[in-house]
């Protein structure tokens, strides 16, 4: 019988999180000593019937109260800053991260690799590379949780969320759904398989999918008729998509947004919401006509048509 206390530290984020955890355990232990030692001592010393000096003393109330108000406040603010630093680091996605898509649905995880490989409840990644996951849900809220990596992100229908990690040791690690999602919530589990680069290259070789993700997206792009307007039609004027990904787009409303996954998603499903500057609202909505996986394929295709030089977005939103 073993009594494990910590999950393996399999990512860079894991070590940072564990330091914070140890720090909090240390501070909590000190606080518990400060509270419990006097309580136990007083109970023994001032137990009813035991002789002790009980004459009333006039303790300086205000200074004492201020002491135990101000010192905890400072400690708490320090803890906040520490926690914020770890969080901030985990939220900033490195620009060179390798993109992989994850679609959650009741009750499985579907993975799409840019090379076209598809997996269910398994995610193969190379060790030592920054990996960025774009998470989408086809139905209810799920949560993508890798305890050995100390990361977690809710997967929310109707929007993309992102998460990144850098695995630092080869192995097989647990993947859980950690947001309750219905009957088989506890069966919505899987594994992340971290491989040495050579083995990963080998794995990619052997899979040999017919199309890359972008190629699948291109086929959809033609089938759904996107190309009719966006690829230089003379009848309908639609914004060109070449070199669009990651570029700032001025809108008719005067705002400027970055053409990231979230923007492209909204433009396909809710085209009337953000209209690019100089264009009119002509595009039909594709809501209900394509599923989350197809949507991600089209976005992979648009991405493959060239990206702007600007950096990948850093924050979650």
């Amino acid at each position: 019988m073993t009594f494990p206390l910590f999950p393996t530290e399999a990512s860079d984020a894991a070590a940072q999180t564990d330091y914070l955890y140890w720090g909090l355990i240390a501070i909590s232990s000190v606080v518990m000593l400060i509270v419990f030692v006097p309580i136990v001592y007083f109970i023994f010393k001032y137990r009813r019937g035991k002789r002790a000096d009980r004459s009333p003393v006039n303790l300086p109330e205000l200074p004492i109260e201020l002491t135990w108000t101000i010192i905890p406040t400072f400690i708490f603010v320090g803890l906040f800053l520490w926690g914020a630093r770890v969080f901030w680091h985990n939220q900033r996605i490195p620009p060179d991260a390798m993109p992989i898509n994850v679609v959650g649905k009741q009750w499985m995880w579907k993975i799409q690799h840019p090379e076209g490989h598809r997996e269910i409840n398994e995610l193969h990644v190379p060790v030592g590379r920054n990996i960025k996951l774009t998470l989408a849900s086809q139905d209810v809220i799920h949560s993508f949780f890798l305890p050995e990596f100390r990361i977690k992100q809710d997967v929310v229908p109707g929007r993309y969320t992102t998460i990144w990690f850098k695995a630092r040791r080869v192995g097989t690690y647990r993947l859980f759904c950690s947001e309750y999602c219905g009957t088989h919530h506890s069966a919505m589990i899987g594994h992340v398989i971290v491989m040495p680069p050579a083995a990963y290259a080998n794995w990619l070789e052997q899979g040999q999918p017919g199309n890359t993700l972008a190629q699948s997206g291109e086929r959809l792009y033609r089938e759904l008729g996107c190309s009719g307007c966006h690829d230089g039609s003379t009848v309908v004027r639609a914004p060109p998509l070449i070199g669009l990904f990651g570029k700032p787009v001025p809108l008719n409303s005067g705002e400027v947004v970055i053409a990231d996954e979230a923007y492209l998603r909204d433009s396909i499903l809710l085209p009337a919401r953000q209209i690019a500057g100089g264009y009119t609202n002509d595009m039909p909505s594709f809501q209900g006509r394509i599923n989350e996986e197809q949507l991600l394929e089209i976005i992979a295709y648009i991405r493959s048509r060239g990206t702007a030089n600007s950096e990948e977005r850093t924050a979650n939103q």
């Binding site: 206390l5 509270v35 108000t69 969080f87 309750y180």
Partner: protein
């Protein structure tokens, strides 16, 4: 001791003195139509016990299922319904009303020197609303249950779940009005019905905590009602509010839900803090240290509690900046709680400490609440919360606050005021034993869950990977001890009603106004309105010791 001597003559009266049991009728109707706050307090006690029992059975079944990693005792759907029943009933039909409606109803007017609450009929209506809501909740359980969890997250609850969501939501909606009316009643009672001389800063801290709680009840509960109503609109008529397929925003639901439910956490702890302030002072024979700070801390918790709901949503796709703000505010709300703990500790200094059952519970409360509060600091650290949120770490944390805190305080308060409420003493030795059993059982149940959570076991899992088993077995073993800890008081409390020693007016020699009237009190509480000329907790440890020594020497001489 003096009080005991005074009431010694009461042991052989031929006729019971008038009290609220004998006055006003003994029929069932006289209870069901009563406007006496004391009778209503007892009505609440019976109803709460009923809901608690159902929710506890659900918990027991879950703990049994979790002994083995495989989901082999009940089906996944049943398991999901069990934790939903456990959560909804425990939160809305036990914890939120527990201390306010039972002990608050009974004791608040007595503490204020009043004849009743400000609106006695409204008080009865609250009880009926509460039970109408409970009945609806039970209907949903009887017809097959709900599987959304107590949080009702959309779009699962509004679109995908095939269970009786509407009946349960309606039950909580209706019971919520009972909560609002109780809050309103208490606020006005505290403002208008204080005895002559009972100024705000002469109020017992239990009154301050009920006052703060009432403010939260009145301000937050309507938001819950609206949220559940919106969710039901979407579920019944497909009006798109939360489901993105209908053009809604699922995270909006979480904002609205936690805007109520985080303050509700303080509804579930502030009254417990009030009880602890009463019992610590009485059994240490000391004036509370830093009265004003403890009182203000209650108000600070009530106000700051409204600003931290987003800490339930750090990984929900809420903006990073919002996450950081909510993290900072969550740390700030921990300050007033820390102040209270330090003040209670300091109150023991130079006291004359007696470890009677209510005091054991009060000390247990400090221990468990401190553990719960400290692990709250872990969860408020946004970088760490990412890892532990939605795992058993959170489950352990809030059980330390709600069960370790509130239920412990409720038990303490029940023992403390039992003589006043029933006119009988509970058996002291058994009481102490039960408190100890509860403390051990509780820690064995919930401490392993912190480890489980850090290891990564998600909450609401019917089956789990085998490496988590050892801690689950420990937790289930603890739960069975905890169960014994709850059954013991149930048995001896019932036993004491007939066989318990007759209680004097003031068995603890306490200073509150509620002890200046017979036990049980007459229907109108006081024969003459008491006049207050000093602050609460006018205790002297030295005097207590002197009396004790005098009595001992007198006995020796005999």
């Amino acid at each position: 001791m003096k009080a005991e001597l005074e009431t010694a003559g009461v042991s052989t009266p031929l006729r019971e003195p008038k009290n609220y049991f004998t006055e006003g009728g003994r029929t069932l109707a006289s209870w069901l139509l009563t406007t006496d706050h004391k009778r209503i307090g007892l009505l609440y006690l019976y109803s709460l016990l009923f809901y608690f029992a159902i929710a506890a059975v659900a918990a027991a079944m879950m703990r049994m299922e979790l002994i083995t990693p495989q989901g082999d005792m009940v089906t996944s759907d049943t398991y999901n319904k069990l934790f939903t029943i456990h959560g909804t009933l425990m939160v809305w039909f036990f914890l939120v009303p527990s201390i306010p409606t039972v002990l608050g109803n009974f004791i608040l007017p007595l503490m204020l020197g009043a004849r009743d609450v400000a609106f006695p009929k409204l008080n009865l209506l609250s009880w009926y609303l509460f039970n109408a809501g409970g009945l609806l909740a039970l209907v949903s359980v009887i017809f097959g249950g709900v599987d959304t969890g107590w949080t009702f997250y959309t779009p699962y609850s509004s679109t995908y779940s095939n269970s009786h969501v509407i009946a349960m939501a309606a039950g909580i909606f209706v019971a919520g009005f009972g909560s609002i009316l109780t809050g309103l009643n208490f606020i006005i009672t505290v403002h208008k019905l204080r005895a002559p001389g009972l100024t705000w800063f002469r109020l017992p801290l239990f009154v301050w905590s009920l006052y703060s709680t009432s403010i939260i009840m009145v301000l937050a509960t309507p938001v819950l009602a609206m949220t559940l109503a919106l969710m039901s609109l979407e579920r019944i008529w497909g009006i798109g509010i939360f489901d993105p397929k209908l053009g809604g925003d699922p995270v909006l639901f979480q904002h609205l839900f936690w805007f109520y439910s985080h303050p509700a956490v303080y509804i579930m702890i502030l009254p417990g803090m009030g009880v602890v302030s009463e019992t610590i002072t009485c059994f240490a024979r000391k004036k509370i240290f830093g009265y004003h700070f403890v009182a203000y801390a209650s108000m600070a918790i009530a106000i700051l509690g409204f600003l931290v709901w987003g800490h339930h949503m750090f990984v929900s796709s809420q903006s990073v900046y919002a996450g950081l703000m909510f993290s900072l505010l969550s740390y700030l709300v921990a300050v007033p709680s820390a102040i209270k703990v330090f003040n209670w500790t300091m109150t023991l200094y130079r006291g004359s400490i007696s470890l009677k059952t209510p005091m054991l519970y009060a000390l247990g409360f400090i221990g468990l609440f401190t553990m719960g509060g400290l692990t709250g600091l872990f969860l408020a650290a946004v970088g760490l919360d990412v890892h532990v949120t939605d795992t058993y770490f959170v489950v352990a944390h809030f059980h330390y606050i709600m069960v370790g805190g509130m239920v412990t305080a409720f038990m303490g308060g029940l023992h403390y005021w039992w003589p006043k409420m029933t006119g009988r003493m509970y058996p002291e030795k058994l009481g102490q034993l039960a408190a100890l059993v509860m403390y051990i059982g509780f820690n064995l149940t919930f401490f392993p869950q912190f480890v489980l959570g850090y290891l990564g076991m998600p909450r609401r899992y019917h089956a789990y990977p085998p490496e988590f088993q050892i801690y689950n077995v420990m937790s289930s073993a603890g739960a069975s001890i905890l169960g014994v800890g709850y059954l013991l008081p149930l048995i001896y409390f019932i036993w004491s009603l007939k066989h318990g020693k007759k209680a004097p007016a003031n068995p603890w020699n306490a200073t509150g106004l509620e002890w200046q009237t017979p036990s049980p009190p007459p229907k109108h509480n006081f024969s003459a309105t008491p006049v207050v000329d000093k602050g609460p907790y006018d205790y002297s440890a030295e005097a207590t010791e002197r009396e004790l020594r005098d009595r001992l020497t007198a006995e020796e001489r005999r």
